[in-house]
């Protein structure tokens, strides 16, 4: 009688544990496989830590999630920093997102040349906003413009990317922004 009671209690306790274990048998391999995904070291370092050059200019990606700007990443090649993102199809409207943080660790002004856009015109006005000042990078007809910006010493700037279109955009497009330090 007592043995039966113990068995029943044990079964009651073990049942939910077994169910949890069964769920874990599905969850653990899935998480393990996702975590085992190979990554490109260079890109990963750039995304997490930002990139810096010997002169003391630091460009960090802000990241976060956005409905229009996807797959953001930053890369550097010699003195040019390249920010890339995917612009997804969207309704006619104005969108913006903080994308980069630039730190001028130097004791003097740093001049930057900023240019970029999409390879195919999207009938959108694309540009950046720095300290509430708009700098246009691409006109709706696809013309690219280069902007020159001066960064004050020991200052941090947040760059916003904005995109405006008066008609719906029905396709996605890769956007590339280049930042070059000039004398």
């Amino acid at each position: 009688m007592k043995e039966n009671k113990v068995k029943k209690t044990l079964a009651l306790v073990l049942e939910p544990i077994a169910l949890g274990l069964l769920a874990l048998l599905f969850i653990i391999p899935a998480i393990t496989v996702v975590n085992l995904q190979p990554i490109t070291k260079k890109i990963k370092d750039l995304n997490v830590l930002g990139v810096t050059n010997s002169s003391g200019l630091k460009v960090n990606i802000i990241g976060g999630s956005h409905l229009i700007f996807l797959n953001e990443r930053i890369d550097s090649n010699e003195d040019i920093y390249t920010y890339k993102t995917k612009l997804v199809k969207r309704e006619a409207d104005s969108y913006s997102k903080p994308i980069l943080e630039i730190v001028n660790d130097k004791d003097e002004d740093v001049n930057l040349e900023i240019y970029g856009g999409t390879s195919i015109p999207t009938n959108s006005d694309i540009g950046i906003i720095i300290e509430e000042q708009r700098y246009r990078l691409q006109e709706p007809n696809g013309n690219l413009l280069t902007q020159k910006i001066t960064l004050r010493p020991k200052e941090t700037y947040v760059i916003y990317l904005y995109i405006e279109s008066f008609s719906d955009v029905r396709f996605e497009e890769d956007f590339e922004l280049n930042i070059k330090e000039v004398q």
């Binding site: 077994a18 169910l19 085992l36 070291k41």
Partner: protein
């Protein structure tokens, strides 16, 4: 603890191991065959602290695609085998022609013992769906070739249909079709 739960736990262990083994083997075998430089790091990122690095983005995409394919095949081949075997077994019950064909192909041992239950097929199919979901998500994130995702998605869907058909036939054994048996 119920017998069903015990059997489910027992049946889930092997596909769970195979899923991880398929991914790991896929990464290391692809790297070994193509002579790619692989680096294993220990940075804290996510739940686990071990990361596998490649220097080039194209190489990462290539290795990830083939490791995803390997993980998927590790689960897809046994699942397809179980569904196929059960389908043949059930077909032989009502169709003598199948027995002749089975004998012809020398796979009589498949129909002499029905050790593949619906539960087993369902569990393997569930793992296959989890694996194919991971592959499809990877495709959407541009970290796996599109054709791997299409293959995985389509095959997982077909196996799902196969599992449902098996269930229908098994349930017909319990609650027989009126027209057929009476």
């Amino acid at each position: 603890m119920s017998k069903l739960l015990k059997r489910a736990l027992k049946n889930s262990l092997f596909p769970a191991i195979l899923m991880i083994a398929g991914k790991v083997l896929g990464i290391f075998l692809t790297s070994a065959i193509y002579g790619l430089t692989i680096e294993v790091g220990n940075e804290l990122n996510g739940i686990f602290s071990t990361q596998i690095y490649f220097e080039d983005k194209a190489v990462t995409l290539f290795v990830n695609s083939f490791s995803d394919l390997s993980m998927f095949l590790f689960l897809a081949i046994p699942t397809a085998y179980f569904i196929f075997k059960t389908a043949i077994f059930q077909s032989t019950v009502g169709n003598p022609k199948t027995i002749v064909k089975v004998t012809k192909f020398n796979i009589l041992q498949w129909i002499t013992k029905d050790d593949t239950t619906f539960l087993k097929i369902f569990i393997w199919c569930a793992f296959l769906w989890v694996a194919s979901s991971i592959v499809v998500i990877n495709v959407l994130q541009d970290s796996t070739y599109t054709w791997v995702g299409i293959l995985a998605g389509s095959f997982a869907f077909l196996c799902g249909v196969g599992a449902v058909k098996t269930f229908e036939i098994e349930s017909n054994n319990v609650y027989p079709d009126n027209k057929r048996y009476y």
